[in-house]
């Protein structure tokens, strides 16, 4: 593997008139800088076309509009407000590393915070598609390089030494004669009095000392001490706990509240009012809100799927599948279809938002993947201009696609307006499963034909309940403008978003002759509250593909690894596959009832391979745990991943491990059951996301050396491949190809569903007798 020759490309940056050194770069350069491969989500030309240096110079009140800025502080630190949301994916750490690298400053001296909603950044404040590092890498480096260059020029002047003889180390400029100047001093002395454009050269990759080295998370100490602040931990005066009594079926609406006055008189309760999605209650504590929600007597209007259950959707999906071409005459055929049931994208921290609606504007605190979109929706809802909507983006306790949607913020705004008081709104856990967002149910059908040693064709028909791409993803795609994929089509709407997302993400990385894949959706995207769970279509489509790859290998009597090795399209892919196979000791002898499974995937400008080992022996499957699904256990996961340029290998490893836990749950235990218009699940003891008793004993992640000068995506990347490897391992261990996932979905329900009215269950009172077991 060779790292490409460093290119000494020059980049444009700006010095901004400010009391200390402040350097800026156009955020929109995100769409052009550094990268060579196409981006999974098309970026917009947007900002750079409509804003130039003239605007920057004249608009001195807002010198950084449309820009991201790195600020050098008098204490020798650098600060940067990242227009993205940190949800555990480690982007504040990797961003601090990128800035530290370019500045020659210790990572600990770079302070990365989350930027408020900045409408002028247009769609470039959207955290999704594992796109953060891909799109922010070059602008952030350019701004940091400009700041350093300005400090170096200032030091040259002060010390009377030519700039090329100066060196930098750990935040200090060194002259050859031993004299030094610190960044803290230079931050002030180098401050620009007028804003101007400058040329910068970025540090060559070969000189990187920080980027590419494992680094611990910058927020780890806060996390382990309980000091890390999430939305609910913000103390906003007067913002009292608020919860919502919700309808018994999906997207029902309130018709009449029968005991509003009584509930308003309950202990601690200050306000009760009907809002669009239910009945909001505000009180001194969340505990009292729970009691009030449970006491409300409400008549409800029907929801959008009151007559639907898993079976009705299943029948509709089957009927809607697009036809396939007949297989070539004389060829042998592998033909398999897999059903993937509903998956919740809830995080551990539920939906939360603080809203303070006043006559002349509103202030919001919430963790949002698409804050600009939210800001616009709030403005529309309250009849404000976007200037009157201040959105503070807070740390999230997990996002996974859920925080792309603004519903919690809109509810908080509605409640705050009705009450005339600030509110701190929280969803109950049961709300999360029953009124939350889900990855839609789908069927992925694959047919491949082969003859001799060749695969002749590979067809995939993916039929899914419509995914709602309207929040956020819709914008960048539409904003592709005249040349964008959507604009060229005469039809507009969600269908086109789906087609675009499908075509830009789904691929077949093997030489399989004629390849043809297509997606078909049923129902309007507003019927179910759909979305993605940490990955888009490949979370299911790739699993179907890899399972069929294993079936082809079996039919052609070739080992699954050897088969992939032979059919993969390029050597870079083969070396990733090989790294995983070697580390996992692929082919080692396994006991009956246990097996290895291997899979490969490419997406997000990268390549990834996984070997899973599973134990499906009766003694393991029949383990007993209170209120739990045990089942087959994945005992070992090995992943090799090529992300182009790895920024923080430790962070990448963490993301891969986390993704593998999603994979284990989604294949073996975790799904929602739709019945008569609502989901039966209401807590983590019936929605069986991976728990310690399902977790592997051994996880090994190999981050491949750099294969590119630009970083690829990380957060969503492991899902497709780890799910595939687990599914393939299970198939080999049991010698039975599953036809639906998770494999326990059709088992008798192992839990008693909570009633739907009241919409949330009571908190138990016997916690002292359980002693936290």
């Amino acid at each position: 593997m060779t790292v490409m020759e460093p290119t000494r490309r020059r980049f444009i940056a700006y010095l901004v008139a400010a009391p200390t050194v402040v350097a800026a770069a156009r955020w929109a350069d995100a769409s052009t800088g550094g990268g060579t491969a196409p981006s999974p989500i098309p970026s917009a030309p947007g900002a750079a076309d409509t804003y130039d240096l003239n605007d920057l110079l004249t608009d001195s009140a807002k010198p950084t509009a449309n820009m991201i800025t790195v600020t050098m502080n008098k204490d020798g630190t650098a600060s940067f407000a990242l227009p993205r949301v940190e949800s555990g994916q480690g982007i504040t750490t990797s961003t601090a590393m990128i800035i530290a690298e370019e500045l020659d400053l210790p990572v600990g001296k770079v302070r990365v915070t989350l930027a408020d909603a900045r409408p002028e950044l247009m769609m470039n404040q959207f955290t999704a598609g594992s796109n953060t590092t891909i799109s922010t890498y070059t602008p952030i480096r350019s701004a940091a390089a400009a700041a350093k260059q300005q400090m170096l020029l200032t030091a040259a002047d002060e010390l009377g030494v030519p700039v090329h003889r100066l060196t930098t180390h750990d935040g200090v400029v060194h002259a050859p004669d031993g004299r030094t100047m610190s960044y803290g001093v230079l931050a002030e002395k180098g401050a620009a009095t007028t804003s101007r454009e400058i040329d910068v050269t970025l540090k060559p990759v070969a000189q990187f000392k920080v980027v590419g080295q494992p680094h611990r998370r910058v927020d780890a100490l806060e996390a382990v001490t309980g000091r890390k602040k999430y939305t609910l931990d913000h103390d906003v005066p007067g913002a009292l706990p608020t919860m919502i009594c919700r309808p018994p079926t999906i997207q029902g609406t309130p018709k009449k509240v029968h005991n509003l006055a009584t509930v308003k008189g309950m202990p601690g309760i200050t306000d009760v009012a009907m809002i669009s999605n239910g009945v909001a209650v505000r009180g001194q504590t969340f505990g009292q809100c729970i009691e009030a929600v449970r006491a409300l007597k409400v008549t409800w209007n029907p929801g959008t799927v009151d007559k639907d259950s898993d079976q009705t959707f299943l029948a509709e999906l089957k009927a809607a599948e697009l036809p396939m071409a007949p297989p070539p005459p004389g060829a042998s055929v592998v033909d398999e279809a897999f059903t993937f049931y509903w998956k919740s994208n809830t995080a551990l921290e539920p939906q939360t938002a603080i809203a303070d609606v006043r006559k002349d504007g509103v202030t919001i605190w919430s963790s949002l993947q698409a804050p600009i979109f939210t800001q616009k929706q709030v403005a529309d809802l309250l009849g404000f201009s976007t200037d009157q909507v201040k959105v503070h983006v807070t740390n999230s306790g997990g996002a996974f696609g859920r925080r792309m949607f603004s519903d919690v913020v809109l509810e908080a705004c509605e409640a705050s307006k009705k009450f005339g008081k600030p509110v701190k709104l929280m969803w109950h856990r049961t709300d999360e499963f029953r009124a939350g967002r889900m990855h839609p149910m789908c069927i992925s059908h694959v047919r491949a034909s082969y003859s001799g040693g060749s695969v002749l064709n590979f067809e995939q028909r993916h039929t899914s309940v419509a995914t709602d791409w309207s929040m956020g993803f819709g914008e960048p795609i539409t904003a592709g403008g005249a040349s964008g994929p959507v604009a060229q089509s005469p039809i507009h709407g969600n269908y086109n978003y789906s087609q675009t997302v499908w075509n830009l993400t789904v691929n077949v990385p093997y030489n399989f002759g004629q390849v043809d894949h297509a997606i078909q959706e049923i129902r309007d995207y507003t019927v179910m509250k759909s979305g993605s769970v940490r990955n888009l279509y490949n979370a299911d489509a790739a699993v179907a593909r890899e399972l069929v790859v294993d079936q082809l290998a079996k039919a052609m009597k070739i080992d699954p690894y050897a088969f992939r090795d032979a059919f993969l399209k390029d050597d870079a892919s083969r070396s990733v596959l090989k790294a995983a196979a070697k580390a996992a000791k692929w082919g080692r002898s396994m006991r009956p009832g246990t097996a290895q499974g291997i899979a490969f995937h490419s997406e997000y400008h990268g390549r990834i391979a996984c070997v899973a080992e599973i134990d499906a022996r009766p003694s393991t499957i029949n383990r007993k745990k209170r209120q739990a699904v045990t089942g087959p256990r994945v005992t070992r996961i090995t992943i090799a991943v090529d992300v182009g340029l790895p920024i923080n290998p430790k962070g990448i490893q963490a993301q891969m491990m986390g993704g593998a836990m999603d994979a284990i749950g989604q294949i073996l235990t975790e799904s929602l059951h739709l019945k008569d218009g609502y989901f039966l699940e209401g807590s983590w003891d019936d929605y069986y996301y991976t728990r310690q008793w399902n977790a592997p004993f051994d996880v090994n992640v190999i981050v491949m050396p750099a294969t590119s000068e630009s970083p690829g995506g990380v957060g969503e990347f492991p899902i497709a491949v780890t799910k595939s490897a687990v599914a393939c391992a299970l198939t080999r261990a049991t010698d039975k190809l599953p036809s639906y996932f998770p494999i326990n979905h059709l088992d008798p329900l192992p839990f008693e569903p909570f009633p739907t009215e009241p919409s949330i269950p009571p908190s138990p009172n016997d916690g002292l007798h359980r002693k936290g077991e």
Partner: protein, 158 residues
């Protein structure tokens, strides 16, 4: 309004709250102690795990009236003080293994881990895979494997 008193992180506290309000909300909404997190209110996710008299429990499922004046409640904020240091060895192990992702579950995970190790030690044995499998705390970011490693490392230092 009934008055309740107990020891919280080494200090005596008094609060005026109705009897049936669960302790988690007394800690968070009344006393402003935000380390214990809400994840379900059902004794399921364990994000709120804290200690009562040194044992793990879930304050989301204990009405404040059931806490008596001599009960000692320890939240993540008070954990270091129990060993008289800036950080408990389990927190050090968590840092060493870089366990946290979003971090939301981690106060509860650490409190559960400390209690688990104490239990094993009291029974005169090492922490086992079976002990680790018994931990019910959800980590939706999937840090389970690093949690297992950190508990084993932390146990050695405890």
């Amino acid at each position: 309004m009934p008055r309740h008193t107990f020891k919280l992180n080494g200090k005596r506290v008094h609060v005026n709250v109705p009897n049936d309000v669960h302790l988690l909300w007394v800690l968070r909404d009344v006393l402003g102690v935000n380390g214990p997190k809400y994840g379900c209110g059902l004794d399921v996710c364990k994000a709120c795990t804290s200690h009562i008299n040194g044992k793990a429990f879930n304050p989301c499922c204990v009405p404040v009236s059931k806490i008596s004046a001599d009960d000692e409640i320890t939240t993540i904020e008070g954990l270091p003080d129990t060993v008289g240091k800036d950080l408990h060895p389990m927190q050090e192990a968590w840092l060493e293994m870089d366990v946290a992702q979003c971090g939301y579950c981690q106060p509860g995970q650490i409190m559960a881990a400390v209690a688990k190790v104490k239990e094993a030690k009291a029974a005169g044995r090492e922490i086992t895979d079976a002990d680790l499998d018994d931990i019910r705390n959800i980590c939706r970011c999937g840090t389970y494997h690093r949690i297992r490693e950190a508990i084993q490392a932390g146990a050695k230092a405890m």
